[in-house]
Chain length 137, copies 2
Amino acid sequence: MKLNNTSQYAIRIVAYIVQNGSKNKYNAKDISKKLSIPYKYLTKIMSLLVEGNIILSSRGREGGYNIAKELSEIKIGDILEAVKESLHQEECVLGNHLCNKMEKCILHDKWLFTKNSMQEMFKNTTLDDFIAKGVQR
Amino acid sequence: MKLNNTSQYAIRIVAYIVQNGSKNKYNAKDISKKLSIPYKYLTKIMSLLVEGNIILSSRGREGGYNIAKELSEIKIGDILEAVKESLHQEECVLGNHLCNKMEKCILHDKWLFTKNSMQEMFKNTTLDDFIAKGVQR
DNA sequence: TCTAATGACTACCTTAATGTAGTCATTGAA
DNA sequence: TTCAATGACTACATTAAGGTAGTCATTAGA
């Protein structure tokens, strides 16, 4: 029961940037080293974050990545969405195919409750929360 | 963000048995058909449930599976444990390696809160809850 | 005692997620 | 204007989860 690897990396990447100065620019090689994420895998994830409007990139010499918006505008949920982590409500704990409007799978209500609270957490946690609290990593 | 396939199947299998009479015996072929779980995959999962003391099996002609204990003694959490779904508290949302006693990853506290509530739900939900509520599937 | 019906075991195959390699496109600075 | 440093793109390789096949072991009943 956890986020997949790609999502974990994505959150760590964005957090790293936020915590080391969101105004600065970061290149892939450095991020890769600092966070021990395989270089090529990292650039793949960065592209997803760029596509998802979390990160801006500039190519060429002196290029790199930086944050696309104000910290208060970026939610953890946005990051997860950018890397396609499935968080959708309609997905049931026992698989979609069992649940519909008429019938519920056995765990439906209980699961939905905890799942909703998790989604709320992701939706409501913005990047400036980390800065504000001075969290280390 | 969901339980893996094996866990989903395991819960559905046990629920099926409970809802169709926990005193009866069920053979693999029937369960496989009724729940649309591939036969061989099913027997693999059944072995895990037997090993985990959720289910009893008897071999040979007229053999089959039945529930090992009283319904009130079996928790959803036990089923998940039997099939090795990882629910352990020490596993952090951003991977184990970042969190230790001294330092916490950025999402640690928030994640832990929702995760705990999920674990509580799994721990506190026993099979007789389903019977009591007359849930369909 | 035989045998058909059952679950157990082992090894393999398939698929999707994870990770790697190579090359192309862009751009600032010498 | 060249070129080195960068990110983007495409294709492939590896790994782990999901799923299948074949055979063995057990047992109730004819």
